[in-house]
Symmetry: D2
Subunit: 134 residues, 4 copies
């Protein structure tokens, strides 16, 4: 086990009609979707995929703070960093900020690697994407 | 080809926060989701599944009228009927009404049967669910 | 502040096409939606609404465990209980189980009462719904 | 009434986990969401908003063809053009293509202008965005 803080890429999205509720603010679970897109985009942006053969990651735990609401039309930026890394799992911190750099949402997410349906050591191909090896 | 009007079951759902947009009315594409749930529920309610071995249906065409908006908290009822039936496809009429029987949305949807990725004759097991045979 | 465990109603839903991802399992953030529907249904089932005049609740914190996946076609039951209650906030435990009573997901959610945009004491009308007063 | 074909901007998005169903293909109603984002982005990209004071547009009719499925990880491009324009409504053609320029989906959508809840003439501020006036 290692404790660390590796900042990976950022991802931007807009808050559209489909994302807001009757109050005109972003529906709470959508922040989890935005964070998932940001994790997937780490792979896609490197011409890779989060699904590699029989391997993929699943969300095991989430610890989330909803700090300030994103509004219809806002552009939000998601930053992702690895804060812990084990043989079979990765803990990430993901933050959502608006254009004024105001923090709207943050979560710690524990991701576990599966091969088929079984928990598995994380293959090196993933570690390269996460910049945990060369 | 046969022209017909067989009314199949009804399905009810509520309009929740996740369904409405900033205006407090149901987001337009959600009516398609409700209609898809109603089609799937025809199968589940008979202890069957819309996916049968290698077979399933895909949406090929939709012709939809958005007549009056569903509001947060409304209960809506979806009725489905078969209006046309061919070897490989089914045309359905689906209607969404509120508790006052007011028509909010209707669509004609053309569903095509696939075996794997290929267009296929509709197996008898589906016809029984759709009450097109015994 | 009071620590407690008041079990409120249950809510059932089906896992539909729209809920599952490429692996045929329920997309992770959908469990939060199901839990929100269960909270809203507490109000609707009593001919009330989660929005009362200028008052409503917002999600402030979520601590979630994804234990076992819900699959396409599964019926899941959400149970909700109040585990902590303050002047302006409520902490709930919500659990999602499948038809075999297997626990699939659980979360603690901190809900804060707002009047307009400002944090507010929880009005008595809400306390009656939550069975915290008569 | 005028018949025309004014091509407006393009919008790109990726197909993420949340967009695909158990078959690994994009859930059918999501194409409507992508088209709505493309329409909203016409406004946002010009520092405007689809909601202007009391005015906004609602979807009244959709005529959609689902031609070929978008897959997990695909980048899709939505093009929008105005094909008909009346005092209170606009008819658009929107097409979704993949990176190989293959047409996956197309729809005609009739949008009606509302002022509050009432059908209204389209204000000039919208016409400028739609490049129907200067």
């Amino acid at each position: 086990m290692e404790s660390m803080n590796i900042t990976l890429g950022t991802y931007q999205t807009r808050i559209y009609y489909e994302d807001v509720d009757a109050g005109g603010i972003c529906y709470h679970s959508k922040y989890l979707n935005f964070c998932e897109r940001a994790r997937s985009e780490m792979f896609f942006s490197k011409n890779s995929s989060p699904i590699q053969g029989d391997y993929h990651f699943v969300v095991k735990k989430i610890n989330a703070d909803f700090i300030s609401p994103a509004l219809f039309g806002n552009t939000v930026t998601i930053t992702s960093s690895i804060i812990n890394f084990k043989n079979v799992s990765i803990m990430m911190l993901q933050e959502v900020k608006n254009n004024d750099k105001k923090l709207l949402f943050k979560m710690k997410v524990l991701l576990v690697c599966l091969k088929g349906n079984k928990i598995s050591r994380i293959p090196d191909s993933y570690k390269r994407i996460f910049e945990l090896s060369n």
